[in-house]
């Protein structure tokens, strides 16, 4: 198998990295599955080393599913070094353990807290403003691009940088390195939410004062209960119950 074919195999398999997520090894099965073609390439004629490779990648591993590509790239590089007698498997396991925190924190912060809300809140705003189904379907494709360009970029760049840097990959795992991406998507989420509030406040229930008051109080209550008190169920249900009370009393 040629090198670049191997890397494509690893890249494609990485889409299933969370397929068997469990409490024992977390991403371990997916990580092992993703790197299995490398094991075949390096140790196919040496069963002892082949099973040793699989076993060490079934050890505990976790991280954000997109950002874990940095660990995949670095592990590929280090495994190739080990096969050449230039490294030790124990070093690799320690290195993977050290990456768990940064990979998770960075991915959660960038994707789950910024890029995902930005993309889909923009979708909500567009769907509110445009009723034509053809435009709406077209916008779904746009949302797909907006979300998946950074997604695929991280997967590809992560593997490439990981492979080039090996043990030094931790230098890339800082939110400062994604400043412009973060700024761009934060702008989208801010604009989308603000204009969604504007649209709903002005148009729903004819934009009367009570409606605007219900909207703003719901936003503040949900935000307060979720962010300050960490009470998701209350944050989701209290504004709805209050709206019912207001509806009965007014």
């Amino acid at each position: 198998m040629k090198r670049y074919t191997l890397y494509i195999h690893i890249f494609l398999r990485s889409f299933f990295i969370q397929g068997c997520w469990n409490y024992k090894g977390m991403l371990a099965v997916g990580f092992c599955f993703t790197l299995k073609p490398l094991a075949k390439l390096l140790y196919w004629d040496d069963p002892e080393k082949y099973y040793g490779f699989l076993k060490r990648h079934l050890g505990f591993m976790n991280g954000h599913p997109y950002f874990v590509s940095y660990a995949l790239g670095a592990s590929t590089k280090i495994e190739e070094m080990i096969a050449k007698g230039q490294g030790h498997p124990e070093q690799l396991q320690r290195f993977k353990n050290a990456l768990v925190g940064p990979l998770g924190a960075l991915g959660d912060q960038l994707f789950w807290a910024i890029i995902k809300p930005a993309t889909f809140s923009l979708g909500v705003l567009f769907f509110l403003l445009v009723e034509d189904i053809q435009y709406r379907v077209g916008f779904i494709i746009f949302m797909g691009v907006l979300y998946n360009v950074p997604h695929l970029y991280i997967r590809i760049k992560g593997f490439k940088n990981g492979y080039q840097q090996g043990f030094n990959i931790y230098k890339f795992l800082k939110i400062e390195n994604y400043k412009s991406m973060k700024r761009f998507y934060v702008s989208i989420v801010v604009l989308s939410l603000a204009f969604t509030i504007g649209y709903v406040g002005a148009n729903w229930n004819a934009g009367n004062a009570v409606s605007i008051a219900v909207l703003l109080s719901s936003i503040l209550i949900a935000r307060y209960l979720r962010a300050e008190k960490g009470r998701s169920i209350l944050a989701l249900t209290v504004p709805a119950i209050l709206s019912l009370i207001i509806g009965i009393t007014l």
Binding site: L58, F120, L191
Partner: protein, 230 residues
């Protein structure tokens, strides 16, 4: 009936995208609502529910091993329920929205607990691989992932089917009492749910700068849309 089962089957495949494979974002309620609209022929109704529910779950971050409510599954059930019963509740759509929303929240938390069981079951697959490696037998890592995804799909399918049937039954049962209420009682439900969704997304950002910018721009937005400046 066959159409609904086919729809549930397809949507169950899409919900795999939520955690288990690909993660392209296609299991988001705003997207699944369009598919539900296409199947039922009620685009506007399905998308309306999708828009309202979309913002709700984005504030729940799937950090590390944390268990979050299964918002994607709950939303699908809610969206199909809302779309199928909208005509029966035509005079009380806001009431239907609120009831469906509460049901969706409830089953989403149940879905989160079912996820715990699936993850525990996946540990069995990992242990089986360890055993085969120890015995130097042909390893089946890919097969373990395939089995885990099939289990996940089956659970998603059963979850959506069963809770959809139960939800429709509950809505049928509640129809008469709800239709007897004054429609005005429910009139602020839609706007409150939209506000809740926005508040949930805003809860992700602690930065004062972001909060103030949203507040200022939303005032501008209200003026723009109220006086149709664009």
């Amino acid at each position: 009936m066959t159409d609904i089962l086919l729809l549930v089957g397809i949507i169950s495949i899409l919900t795999i995208d939520q955690k288990d494979a690909f993660q392209f974002g296609i299991s988001q309620p705003i997207i699944t609502s369009v598919i539900i609209g296409a199947f039922t022929g009620e685009y506007a109704t399905a998308i309306y529910f999708g828009i309202i529910i979309q913002l709700m779950w984005m504030g729940n971050l799937q950090i590390g091993a944390s268990i979050t409510p299964s918002g994607a599954l709950g939303s699908v059930v809610g969206c199909i329920m809302y779309t199928l019963t909208a005509k029966a509740y035509a005079s009380h759509l806001s009431a239907l929205l609120l009831l469906t929303f509460f049901y969706t929240v409830g089953i989403s938390f149940i879905g989160g607990q079912i996820e715990v069981l699936i993850r525990k079951n996946n540990t069995r697959f990992q242990n089986a691989i360890y055993k085969r490696i120890a015995q130097h037998k042909k390893t089946v890592v890919g097969w373990a992932i395939t089995k885990a995804i099939i289990v996940q799909w089956s659970v998603n399918f059963l979850f959506i089917s069963l809770f959809l049937a139960l939800g429709l039954l509950i809505l049928e049962w509640l129809k008469q009492p709800v239709l007897l209420t004054h429609a005005a009682v429910w009139r602020f439900a839609d706007i409150a749910l939209m506000g809740t969704g926005i508040g949930m997304v805003l809860s992700l950002y602690k930065s004062r700068k972001i909060q103030y910018t949203v507040a200022l721009l939303s005032l501008l937005g209200i003026l723009i849309f109220k006086f149709k400046l664009v």
